[in-house]
């Protein structure tokens, strides 16, 4: 094992497109050897084909997406090649992270140019790559058995972000609840209460589009597309959500005691594939009993939405802030002061949506 000095010049700088082709060929070999199968999903309205080499990854990746299952089409918008090869990565040359990069974090390294996006998540051991010219992506997992719950509950994010970005979509760190005629984005960093707020809406008139991520289409009316039907809640909090507690769940096997629950298929009636965004809500936990909503400035909403989106998700760049700013300028924004009576929260959100701009 050698230590990498980031200031040292690159010794080997493979061509990104050639590197993509190298890894894609590896997938084709794996597919030929192990056999393959396809799954199809409608992601932000676009048909996406998942090609699985072997079967190991199917029960790991598909549950979060199953509510978006769709019929095959002749021309998918994107084809993703997925496989799990425990010993593949050491045989593949490292990609050119340091030629120039996106926003790198402690947990990931990435590279982007006009055609190719590459990201490697150090924590999950997942290599994600997109070739825009071919509408082709690869998702290579070092070991499916060690994939953590936070990836199983929300897989393929770097790929979906890159692929949908060229189609008017923007992956955001936000929960989303609403009705087919309109709903709310819940924005804020982890621990701010957006996931809990989304979970309180389960089984009410407000349908669930996600508790942590969704795909935002930034047209004249922003639209929130559901990506994952998963929900995450600390095991000790399951009692506060009896409807969730009744569903099968798995505790994150990395020991952080968060239960991962899939709402599909058992509670598919709670789920929506998306809605026009009519309000942006910034949850804030208060010490009071009652919940209320108060208008806030678009700038305040942007401060809640943009930093966690930009710094948590791979594939963001300098234009992301502008896209998010467009959204907060186009819909009313509110602080959602959360009270301790959880059952009252959905009514306040419904009142905000019904008011069309005033709580």
């Amino acid at each position: 094992m050698r230590t990498l000095n980031p200031d040292a010049p690159d010794v080997a700088r493979p061509d990104p497109a050639a590197f993509f082709e190298t890894v894609h060929r590896a997938f084709e070999h794996a597919d030929h050897a192990a056999g393959g199968s396809d799954r199809w999903y409608l992601i932000a309205g676009h048909p996406v084909r998942l090609r699985f080499a072997g079967s190991t990854l199917i029960p790991v990746i598909t549950p979060a997406l199953e509510h978006l299952s769709t019929a095959p089409v002749a021309r998918p918008a994107l084809t993703v090649c997925l496989w799990d090869v425990e010993s593949l990565l050491p045989r593949v040359p490292a990609p050119p992270w340091r030629m120039h990069g996106d926003i790198n974090s402690q947990a990931s390294r990435s590279y982007s140019d006009e055609r190719i996006h590459i990201s490697f998540d150090i924590g999950t051991g997942v290599l994600s790559m997109v070739d825009d010219a071919a509408d082709l992506a690869v998702y290579c997992v070092r070991d499916a058995r060690r994939l953590p719950g936070y990836e199983i509950g929300a897989p393929l994010k770097p790929i979906l972000q890159r692929a949908m970005r060229g189609r008017g979509g923007q992956l955001v760190h936000a929960a989303a609840v609403g009705r087919p005629d309109g709903g709310a984005l819940l924005v804020g960093k982890g621990g701010s209460g957006k996931s809990t707020t989304a979970l309180t809406c389960l089984g009410t008139e407000l349908l669930y589009a996600g508790d942590d991520y969704c795909m935002l289409s930034t047209g004249s009316v922003p639209y929130a597309h559901s990506l994952f039907n998963s929900a995450k809640v600390y095991a000790e909090d399951l009692g506060r959500f009896p409807r969730l507690a009744a569903l099968p769940s798995r505790l994150d096997d990395l020991g952080i005691d968060k239960a991962l629950v899939f709402l599909h298929p058992d509670q598919r009636e709670w789920i929506t594939t998306g809605f026009p965004v009519r309000a942006i809500l910034v949850p804030q936990v208060t010490g009071r009993q009652e919940t209320s909503a108060m208008p806030i400035s678009p700038a305040a909403a942007l401060k809640a939405l943009a930093p966690s989106t930009i710094f948590q998700l791979a594939g963001m760049d300098h234009s992301t802030l502008g896209l998010l700013a467009t959204c907060v300028r186009r819909v009313p924004c509110y602080a959602l002061h959360l009270g301790s009576t959880l059952s009252a929260i959905p009514r306040v959100i419904q009142d905000v949506l019904a008011s069309g701009g005033a709580p």
Binding site: P6, D252, A299
Partner: protein, 165 residues
Amino acid sequence: MYGGSGMSTGLYFKVNSPSVVHEVFDDEVVIINLDTGVYYSVNGVGAEIWTRIDGAVVGDIIDDLASRYATPASDVEASVRPFLDELGAEGLIVPNQTAPGESPRRPTRDTADVPPRLPRFEAPVLRKYSDMQELLLLDPIHEVDEVGWPVRPNGADEQHPKDRA
């Protein structure tokens, strides 16, 4: 980088793009430093200064604010200079090196006709938020395997930031 409290009034700056991105709203500017993971907001006089950073000479900014707020230029300067120092220290602005013979870009509008944002001059304030910084802390020395793939150093704990789970 520049003279700090001794900076020349003829000095001018620019936003440190592309590392720094920003959005201007009616009453506030949201600024993000993509390299550090820190984000900021300025409003009032601070927002006015920020929207003039690109291409404006420091002395002109000071004179303009003094005129619009009917405040002695010395008073304005006493708070604007530290503010600019702070913007520079945070990596948000850098000196604008214009080639000899070229003039800095001047605002095309007559700012004397633009009403001030506040009823009276208030010292500009840079609000700083570093709660996202932990997601971006770079590990400058990272272990790699034989062909260059990053791996966690032996014995390092798995990362479980709250935002990832």
